[in-house]
């Protein structure tokens, strides 16, 4: 019988009511009296020297308040990078400056050159067109390997080359890995591209800066996944505003998928300009601007080699990846191809020796940073594609080859630093075979073939690492921040509860799921509990939401804080009932004395805490409010097995996803409905990457070719099927109090390889000797491959 409340219940989302009635409060819905509007003049060339910038005609246009250029930001800090990677030789990565407005050079199409503040958005836009910018166009570097060639134009003149870092992991293992390849019975090699994507949350970014002269406090309203991180980065590194004079508010946020983690120039500009002009300044991104100013994702070019012994055991893995950083280092960009990618290269398999080499490269393109999965999709894609190719080369069943090499004993120390605490990969594969009806595939293939279509089945596994931690470890790896989170549980006098959390909900349903946890612990109704998030002046210092961390990290903090509440409440209850604290039990919102019929209700205790007339004042303080910070001892490791079935039209090369099945192990689950929704969304994005989406640049000019929804193919409702998802295989996380693992990214990590594997399977079933097609597998790419 499914539960109807608390942990494990599919409670309907309370936030839906405001979103379904148009009552949401997104940043662009906020207007502050007296606000001005900013429009950014952005570079239309990929690389150029700013020869002159004449703003005089524009400044005289109607409604113009002031025009800012890079010169106004001399002496102001640049946008900081939050992660320093150390290269193979022990040297720090190359770390170029990133000015708020371009200074001297423009380095990608969309790089902001000037900012026009005016009385209306239209006036700001009109005046920006009247700025005379003379830009001497320079040769652009777009292709990563060309960018590293001798004599290539340099994105940053003050750096020795376009190489950000050359990273080896684990460097000490390189010789042993090479030796294992020399002894291998079979080696499978695959070169592939993990296509550049644009996260495309449906809400474009917005920033509003406000400055209160009375208090000297700056407020930034912004579309962010992590308001405290923005406050820290912008306050400390860019504008020099102490935290107590800077408030960052991220209200309802319309999706993020990583792209709203980062600190962006427009946020710093609006905050800076609001103070300079002593009036609020608002920026609303258009979608076109979003394409050339939101951080992009993926964009890896990789070669992966898998060594097997004569019994088909994996003996070694070796990869070489070129990772595009774009023109500047976005906030967490250096960590994505390294610590979020190399550490996952073992996947679900007990490959004993692994070496990962990553060359991060500057190019004249939009900065690239974390996008749903961030490094883990790139690792999974390489690994699960090369395993599939190996199975085909060896003539063995791809599922059997995977099962043979699964990690089966936990905890498992991988050769790439991380320790998997728990898992059961055979269980999720068993479940997948069931829900995907793999036994019935042959009949479905025959049916497709009877209609002249090719049908393919692709399977893959994935493992991911969520809730990146602990802080002392990530600090050693180069993180310039802690990765704990925090929650304050404020019990009010009448027993209702406000929980202030560092995590931020922008679609994940925290306002519904988090109260389920507290309600379960206290035995009270979920409706008595409200989640407060997104305002640095209301919530404790937490690191926000990304990396599928909210429940595993912030939820754990919430559990710890609630435990403190329970401990104190039991003391109060013991006093009220004149009993020993050790005898107090809490069940269904009632405190009782064990073995007696004495009890007091939750509300009696909370009232006593705030009206302490009959209260042990000599032992405990009045009030009932507790805060906990939680720093996990390890990552969590969700894992699963996915299957995709496609039909390929041999006449056109068009691929149709007919079935998609996902069996995930997320550990314990608080709200199954929300978890399924998270998987669905990830699958939509993963199928989009595999079949549709591609962020394309002209390789010569660096013009962004896919800069609108006319050119960038977003998945639509008729591009995807209903999905079969299952998360009944649960091995609870061993090191957090809820036993939860995180589910936000799994779908996007796990789905692309199975789609590609399925298309290859379909084509080979039709007698085509196709072993790989790069994503997105557009009809033209598939058709071309079939002709070859």
């Amino acid at each position: 019988m499914p539960k109807d409340s608390g942990i494990g219940a599919s409670s309907k989302r309370r936030e839906d009511v405001r979103f379904l009635t148009g009552a949401g409060n997104y940043t662009d819905d906020i207007n502050i009296h007296g606000q001005a509007y900013v429009h950014f003049l952005r570079s239309d060339v990929a690389h150029g020297r700013i020869v002159s910038l004449d703003t005089s005609a524009a400044a005289a246009m109607p409604g113009v308040v002031r025009i800012f250029t890079g010169a106004d930001f001399e002496g102001v800090g640049g946008l900081p990078c939050g992660w320093q990677v150390t290269d193979r030789h022990g040297q720090p990565m190359a770390e170029p400056g990133h000015p708020v407005l371009a200074q001297g050079k423009v380095r990608h199409v969309g790089d902001p050159i000037a900012a026009v503040v005016a009385e209306s958005p239209e006036q700001a836009r009109d005046a920006a067109e009247a700025i005379e910018a003379e830009i001497e166009e320079l040769p652009a570097v777009i292709d990563m390997k060309a960018a590293l060639a001798e004599g290539a134009a340099k994105v940053h003149d003050d750096l020795p080359s376009n190489l950000c870092y050359d990273w080896g992991f684990v460097e000490e293992n390189k010789g042993a890995v090479d030796a294992a390849f020399a002894e291998a019975a079979h080696v499978t090699t695959l070169e592939l591209v993990n296509n550049r994507l644009v996260a495309n949350p449906m809400e474009p970014r917005v920033a509003i800066g406000d400055y209160a002269r009375a208090t000297g406090e700056s407020t930034l309203y912004t579309t962010s996944q992590n308001p405290h991180v923005i406050r820290l980065l912008m306050g400390a590194f860019v504008l020099g505003i102490p935290e107590h004079k800077l408030r960052v508010v991220a209200p309802d946020v319309g999706g993020g998928f990583g792209s709203k983690i980062f600190h962006y120039a427009e946020e710093a500009f609006c905050t800076f300009a609001a103070k300079a002009l002593a009036r609020p300044v608002k920026w609303t991104s258009s979608r076109s601007e979003a394409f050339m100013s939101d951080a992009h994702g993926r964009d890896h070019v990789s070669k992966i080699e898998l060594a097997l012994d004569a019994d088909n055991n994996f003996t070694a893995l070796r990869t070489e990846t070129y990772a595009n950083m774009g023109a500047y280092l976005s906030t967490f960009a250096p960590s994505v191809p390294t610590w979020l990618h190399g550490t996952l290269m073992a996947g679900n398999y007990k490959t004993p020796l692994i070496y990962v080499n990553v060359k991060a490269v500057f190019t004249n393109t939009v900065p690239v940073d974390a996008y749903r999965g961030a490094g883990r999709p790139e690792a999974t894609y390489q690994l699960e594609r090369v395993i599939d190719k190996a199975a085909r080369e060896l003539g063995v069943d791809p599922i059997a080859l995977r099962r043979q090499n699964f990690v089966t004993e936990f905890p498992y120390q991988t050769p790439v630093a991380v320790v998997y605490d728990t898992g059961d990969y055979n269980a999720t594969m068993d479940k997948l075979e069931e829900i995907a009806d793999i036994a019935g595939f042959a009949a479905r293939r025959a049916e497709s073939e009877a209609r002249g279509k090719l049908r393919g089945l692709g399977v893959n596994c994935y493992i991911e690492a969520c809730g990146i931690a602990p802080s002392n470890l990530v600090g050693q790896l180069g993180a310039r921040a802690g990765l704990y989170d925090a929650a304050t549980v404020r019990v009010n006098a009448t027993g209702s509860i406000s929980v202030m959390v560092g995590a931020h909900s922008h679609g994940q349903g925290h306002e519904t799921a988090f109260p389920q946890v507290v309600a379960e612990m206290l035995g009270i109704d979920e409706s008595m509990i409200e989640i407060v998030h997104g305002d640095s002046s209301k919530i404790p210092f937490g690191m926000g939401t990304y990396g599928s961390r909210s429940l595993a990290v912030c939820g754990s903090a919430m559990v710890r804080a609630t435990e403190k509440i329970i401990n104190k409440a039991k003391k109060i209850a013991a006093h009220l009932m004149e009993a020993s604290e050790a005898d107090i039990e809490l069940k269904d919102g009632q405190f009782s004395v064990a073995g007696t019929d004495k009890s007091v209700a939750w509300g009696d205790v909370t009232l006593a805490a705030y009206v302490p007339h009959n209260y042990p004042l000599e032992d405990i303080e009045p009030g009932l409010e507790e805060t906990a910070f939680y720093d996990p001892s390890n990552f969590t490791y969700p894992a699963g097995a996915y299957a995709c079935e496609v039909e390929v039209d041999p006449e056109t090369g068009k691929v149709t996803v007919e079935r998609f099945s996902a069996a995930d192990d997320f550990g314990n689950i608080v709200n199954p409905m929300i978890v399924s929704g998270q998987v669905h969304g990830g699958l939509g994005q993963g199928i989009g990457q595999a079949l549709l989406e591609n962020c394309a640049y002209d390789p010569e000019t660096g013009q962004l070719l896919s800069a609108s929804y006319m050119d960038y193919a977003m998945p639509r409702a008729d591009d995807v099927p209903f999905y079969a998802v299952d998360h009944s295989c649960a091995t609870p996380c061993t090191h957090n109090p809820l036993g939860v693992k995180g589910c936000g990214e799994a779908g996007a990590i796990g789905s692309p390889p199975s789609v590609v594997n399925a298309v290859i399977d379909a084509l080979q079933s039709g007698g085509k000797a196709v072993t790989h097609i790069d994503m997105p597998m557009s009809p033209s790419r598939v058709w071309s491959a079939m002709q070859g």
């Binding site: 936030e15 148009g22 449906m202 999706g255 979608r287 969304g681 929804y709 639509r716 409702a717 779908g747």
Partner: protein, 161 residues
Amino acid sequence: MPEINMVVNGRSMRAEAEPRALLSDFLREDLSLTGTHVGCDTGQCGACVVHVDGVAVKSCNMLAVEAAGCEVSTIEGQAGPDGTLNALQQAFQDHHGLQCGFCTPGMVMSAAALLKENPTPSEAEVRAHLEGNLCRCTGYHNIVKAILAASGQDVSGIAAE
């Protein structure tokens, strides 16, 4: 600036707007009806769908002056006077047909237009109808399910939750 009159969600409303003002901007900025969202600038995403004289339109593709004198219906006018969700809105909540909520107003308005034309659409008809509405959160699964459920069809066979 021309003064524009229209009946919005049953109420007569009036405001001045520039001739180049889009209906979406007029609703959001001049009438403070911020439930209508703008997610792109090429008429692709559908977050801004409203009904003008009973027909679903992308309000970013229409000038405010073109809607002068028309009856406009937005997401703010869909629930009952006491705030009770209508059947379609309720189906979206019941079946988790929204996550971040940004595309939701357009999805609901677009789906309402479909169900008016075709009270019991097939799955394929729902998916085809939603061609002009992008959602990045849900992978469309629960949106399609919610619309089928709102049409009174049995969705219990569609993968759980």
